[in-house]
Each structure stands twice: as C-alpha cells, then as structure tokens.
C-alpha cells in the first residue's frame, strides 16, 4: 500500500502520450483489413487505454483494495449482463432433437 502517494506530472505526461499513441493506433488499424480481428484489436486497445486512465488518472493503482474490488464488481456485473443476454441470442437457432 502506497498510502496517499500519488503519481507525478511526469507520469501523467507519459500516460497521456500513451493514450494518444493508442488512439492513433486504433485509427490507423481501422483501415487495415484484419477480418474478424478488426473489432477485437480496436476493443483491446480501448481496454488498455481505459486501464491506463483508471489506474493512473483515477489513482486506482494507489488506492485501497476496496476501490479495486468495487471496480472489478462493476466490470463483472456488466459482463454478466452482456454474456447472459448473448447466451440467448447466440443459441436461438439451435433446436433440440
């Protein structure tokens, strides 16, 4: 636990530049044909960018376990909603025999 220590402006700048690079990457890759991987790559970069923002801009890297747990819970519940809804949509055409 690093208590109340917070990142420095230098680190913020690095994160900012990483985010800009990530955005440019997303944009550039979108015009390459990667087949089904296009959205996958785009979302992976988005997740990475979001992680950077959450961990450093939002100080979660330096926060208590409770904060980390709270965020994980949110993501977990979102995944429940998405996957279990899709579990219906993606298996509708299957009929028992």
């Amino acid at each position: 636990m690093s208590g109340h220590s917070h990142p420095t402006p230098g680190l913020y700048l690095v994160i900012f530049l990483a985010l800009v690079v990530g955005t440019c990457l997303t944009w550039g890759i979108a015009f390459k044909d990667l087949g089904v991987w296009n959205p996958v790559v785009a979302l992976t970069i988005a997740v990475a960018k979001a992680l950077l923002v959450v961990l450093f801009f939002m100080h979660v890297h330096y926060s208590s376990k409770l904060t980390k747990l709270t965020i994980s819970a949110g993501v977990f519940w979102l995944m429940i909603m998405i996957t279990m809804s899709l579990s219906d949509y993606l298996t509708r055409t299957f009929l028992p025999q």
Binding site: F16, A73, S85
Partner: protein
C-alpha cells in the same frame, strides 16, 4: 444541535458533522463516487448490450451507418477528450500540492477542451441533421438515409450506393428496394449513435457544470493539500466520461472502416 459536542479534534471548516476526521470524509466521499460510477457503468452497460445485439443482427446496416459519420472528427474528439483528462488529472495534482493558480488554469483548460469536444459533437450532429440522419419521424425532417432531403448523398456505404434507386414516393404499398432496406436499418444504427453519444454528451454537460463550480472554489482558494476531495471527485467523474468515449469511438466510428476508406 444540543448534543453534537463529540468531535474534539482539529476541526477543518469543510469537515461535515457526521465524519470524525478529514481522512474519513475523504475516504467515504471517494468511495461514494466510485459506487456512483458503478451505477453509471451499468447504465451505459445497458446501452452497450443493446448496441451489441443489434450490431450482430444488422451488421451491414451498421457498417453503412458507421461509415457515414466522419471518422476524422471522431478521432479529433478522442484526442481532445484525452487531453482534457490529462489537464484534469494535473489539476488534481496541483490541488494536492497547493498550487492554486496552476489549479485554476488547468481546470479552465479542461473546460475549454470539454467545450471543444461538445462543439465538435454539435457540428457532427448538425451534419447528421443536414443529411436527414435523425432517427424517428418526430424530430427534424424525418429519417432519410439517402440524405434525400438535401439531395446530396454522400453518406451511405457502397452497399446501398451501388444499387441506388431513385424510386418514386407516394405509394406506401410499393415494395422497398434492397438499398432502401439497408437504409431503413441504418436508422437503428443512428438511434444508437445518438443515444450513446447523446447520453455521453449529457454527462459532459454535467461535467462542465461541475468544473465551473470547482474552478470558482479553486479561485477562492478552497482546495489545498489538506482538503481537495471535491476536485478529486470531479476528476473521477471526468475520467469516467472519458473512458466511455474511449469505447464509443471504436464502436460507433470504426465499424469495418477498411472497406470504405476515409
């Protein structure tokens, strides 16, 4: 207030009566903000779920819709919002380190960037209005994926373009052409486009309101190393809105871009 003589320790003016110490107050407030962001996450999450299901269902129409919005503006807006997140994070740092003037300037630049984002968004919305891409038949001139209302058709993807058919209007029972079907289904894409970016923009507007209030308080010198909770909470909120956009950009602007170029 007869029985409130309980706290005997140092009493910061910003300490609310229900808390024992500033530390507890900050802890509780930050945690409260996170819990609130959790609800925000689930709210956007509902929209994302619905978006995903329709994207699977009407993929060609989503491609056509997505390629009709300007990726350059979306890209620019992403950079603007990331920059505003950076200045916001810095202003929290400035508050923690007691740099009052810097704090105010950083907050102001965050507001400028946020307004720039909304300005770009307004421009994009106006373009969509112009092209008659407002879904539904209540607002605007009615949905028309052809951009038919202004007679300029630069919007739809090539699927529709290739087999475009200037069909006569009037008889509601005339069967639609294939291109028109895609056009009609893009209406769902635009429903999601406006709902998701609209909800996001609504959060930005609230964020700007918060920032205005924070700037005024920062100018007043309310925040310093001992007390910077409000500015930290404002920061959390602003970054969350930024994260939502980080996902909206690829989901709305970049569906199968490689097929169609810029």
């Amino acid at each position: 207030m007869s029985t409130s003589q309980t706290t005997t320790t140092d009493h910061h003016p910003a300490l609310a009566h229900q808390f024992d110490s500033m530390e507890q107050q900050q802890d509780a407030s930050t945690f409260g903000m996170w819990v609130f962001l959790l609800t925000e996450l689930m709210m956007f999450g509902g929209l994302f779920t619905a978006y995903l299901i329709y994207r699977l269902k009407y993929y060609p129409a989503f491609v056509a819709g997505s390629t009709s919005i300007s990726v350059s503006w979306g890209f620019a807006n992403t950079l603007i919002l990331i920059a505003s997140s950076f200045t916001m994070a810095m202003s929290v740092w400035a508050a923690q380190n007691g740099k009052r003037r810097m704090q105010v300037w950083l907050l102001l630049s965050t507001m400028v960037l946020g307004s720039a984002f909304l300005g770009v968004k307004a421009k994009e919305y106006y373009d969509k209005w112009d092209e008659c891409h407002i879904p539904g038949h209540v607002i605007g001139k009615g949905f028309n994926a052809w951009g038919g209302c202004s007679a300029t058709n630069k919007s739809l993807g090539n699927i529709a373009e290739e087999i475009r058919d200037p069909k006569e209007h009037g008889n509601p029972n005339t069967p639609e052409t294939a291109a028109e079907q895609i056009a009609r289904q893009t209406e769902i894409f635009f429903s999601f486009y406006f709902l998701m970016t609209g909800l996001h923009a609504f959060h930005m507007v609230i964020g700007l309101g918060l920032l205005t209030w924070l700037t005024l308080r920062a100018r007043h010198g309310d925040f310093g190393p001992a007390y910077y909770t409000p500015i930290e909470l404002g920061g959390l909120y602003w970054h969350f809105v930024d994260i939502v956009w980080i996902f909206l950009f690829p989901l709305l602007y970049l569906i199968s871009r490689h097929q169609h170029g810029v």
